[in-house]
């Protein structure tokens, strides 16, 4: 029972990261109808940036906010400079462009910070390990029903829940949120009611990448280091989470992310032949199963319209 509880909470904590990334995927998909293949790499770039801020002696609390700012700029710039010009031509071209951006950002990380894991005192890092947002010493845990739950896990889960609440408020109670939903629903009519759709899309990409940045920092914090391959598998899990929850549902992204984390951890823990190495396979199976049984996902809407 303790083991089950522990594995579940660990799963929720890992799933929180997927939820953060999936939220960004969903926000972009709702805005422009595209899968942003570079989403994980945008997050990684920000994770590197936060490492850099740490090197300059900036405390993690401030550094992570700055990192999210970097994310907003990267996302907004990508939409304005890359996605918007090609989106007019074809939706498929956007997909290719985001793959290009994926490669470019990964190359850029290497060009700026080198190919090794960071922090690395061998190349002059002042930090010993990647900064964690929450206390992560060996004795930072609470015992619940005999299971040792780390403060870091609880903090990560809490972070996602708070962020979800904030996003829910923005989407449903603010003018920007109403505009974002309107553009997602019918871009032509949004123009006709006076919404600057281009500005809204820029904001959507910016917000998505800023949330992704948070996901990148938490991922690097959990791994205690950042490297060029950090986000590859996380991006796949996040895609699985968005597919499971429904690509047009922010609530689905959160639930899907947490569910993928738990499913993964429980199968890896209880099904021997899956283990840690086959975890990617589990999310792949989830994607296939969802697409076969309920293509719109748990909370997604199948597009049906009366005329």
């Amino acid at each position: 029972m303790e083991l089950f509880l522990q594995r579940t909470v660990d799963g929720l904590s890992e799933g929180s990261v997927y939820a953060l990334l999936a939220l960004g995927l969903v926000i972009i998909y709702r805005g422009t109808g595209h899968l942003n293949f570079a989403h994980g790499e945008m997050a990684l770039f920000c994770a590197y940036a936060v490492y850099q801020f740490g090197e300059w002696g900036i405390p993690i609390g401030i550094a992570v906010v700055m990192g999210m700012g970097v994310g907003f700029l990267v996302g907004a710039t990508a939409e304005v400079a890359l996605v918007r010009p090609v989106a007019r031509k074809s939706a498929f071209a956007v997909f290719i462009v985001t793959i290009g951006l994926f490669q470019f950002l990964n190359w850029l990380d290497g060009a700026i910070w080198g190919g090794q894991q960071l922090p690395n005192t061998g190349v002059g890092s002042k930090q010993v390990s990647y900064p964690s947002l929450f206390p992560a010493a060996d004795d930072d845990f609470v015992t619940i029903f005999g299971a040792e739950i780390t403060i870091k896990s609880l903090g990560t889960i809490g972070l996602v829940l708070v962020l979800s609440a904030v996003l829910f408020f923005v989407f449903n109670r603010t003018k920007l949120g109403l505009a974002m939903r309107a553009v997602a629903s019918n871009a032509d009519s949004a123009k006709l009611v006076g919404i600057r759709t281009n500005t809204v899309l820029m904001f959507s990409w910016g917000i998505a990448a800023a949330i992704g940045a948070l996901g990148g920092v938490v991922t690097a914090g959990n791994a205690q280091s950042v490297s060029q391959s950090l986000m590859f598998s996380v991006f796949i899990y996040a895609s699985a989470a968005a597919t499971l929850g429904g690509f047009d549902s922010p609530l689905g992204a959160v639930v899907g992310g947490l569910a993928i984390g738990v499913i993964q951890n429980l199968t890896a823990g209880y099904v021997e032949w899956v283990g840690q190495e086959m975890k990617v396979g589990v999310s792949f199976l989830v994607i296939v199963a969802v697409l076969l049984v309920k293509p719109s996902g748990l909370f997604g809407t199948a597009k049906v319209e009366r005329v």
């Binding site: 003018k175 109403l178 505009a179 939903r181 309107a182 997602a184 629903s185 019918n186 032509d188 009519s189 949004a190 123009k191 006709l192 009611v193 006076g194 919404i195 600057r196 809407t301 049906v304 319209e305 009366r306 005329v307």
Partner: protein, 237 residues
């Protein structure tokens, strides 16, 4: 007083020019109807005025040249368009559809809420479905919603693009009655394009006939229905 005046309005899509220099006028408090067959350029005219497609020539609204203004500036200026085929936000609730119609307004939530209630009074069927998704409404209800949404911006001029399309004649009549009432009671000016002339002619102060992107005739509804060739081609009697 003239509210809207276009001079040599030209517009099209890429290399294709659809409108070849339209001179249109809508005076304050007028209902003006543009009649035309399929492909005459009715929808293009609406889009050119609302700024959603590139256009050339002059578009004056209340004496200001707006032909270079972006769509949001045009809505702010007081022109609202009901697009062809409803153009509601299918995933948004009926109430949110109305709220989004007030997007350009700077007065707070209170007066916007009052306006929402007001349109619920005018269209009681929308009130019954206020929290339903707009996509689940019938065609007639969606058209009502589209009109109410456009009016939420408190426009001086309402552009209506074939509101009768796909609707039962009775529903169309009901919609036109609402427009007429708003015109009489509040001085709302309306520019309406229609293919189906009979109902629209009844309430029109003036009528333009559009053929392949050019205005071929204009005048009062009575004048145009007195013209035999026009009556046969557009009114069918």
């Amino acid at each position: 007083m003239t509210l809207l005046r276009t001079r040599g309005l030209t517009a099209g899509y890429g290399p294709v020019t659809v409108l070849h220099g339209l001179d249109l006028e809508v005076a304050e408090g007028e209902i003006v109807v543009i009649l035309g067959a399929n492909g005459a350029g009715k929808t293009t005219t609406m889009r050119a005025i609302s700024g959603t497609i590139p256009r050339a020539g002059s578009v004056e609204f209340e004496g200001h040249d707006v032909h270079k203004s972006a769509p949001d500036a045009i809505v702010r200026g007081g022109i609202a368009q009901v697009p062809q085929g409803r153009g509601t936000f299918p995933e948004l609730s009926v109430e949110d559809n109305l709220k989004v119609g007030a997007f350009v307004r700077r007065d707070g939530g209170g007066t916007i809420g009052t306006d929402v209630l007001r349109w619920f009074e005018v269209f009681p069927r929308l009130a019954e479905r206020r929290s339903q998704r707009a996509g689940s409404l019938s065609g007639g209800e969606q058209q009502m919603l589209a009109i109410a949404r456009a009016l939420m911006s408190r426009p001086k001029l309402l552009l209506c693009d074939e509101p009768s399309m796909g609707l039962a004649p009775l529903i169309t009549q009901e919609l036109f009655q609402v427009l007429e009432r708003l015109n009489k009671e509040e001085g709302l000016s309306v520019l309406l394009v229609e293919q189906n002339a009979n109902l629209a002619m009844h309430m029109a102060d003036r009528v333009y006939l559009l053929e392949t992107g050019r205005i071929v005739a204009s005048g009062s509804a009575a004048e145009l229905s007195a013209d035999d060739s026009i009556r046969k081609a557009y009114l069918g009697f």
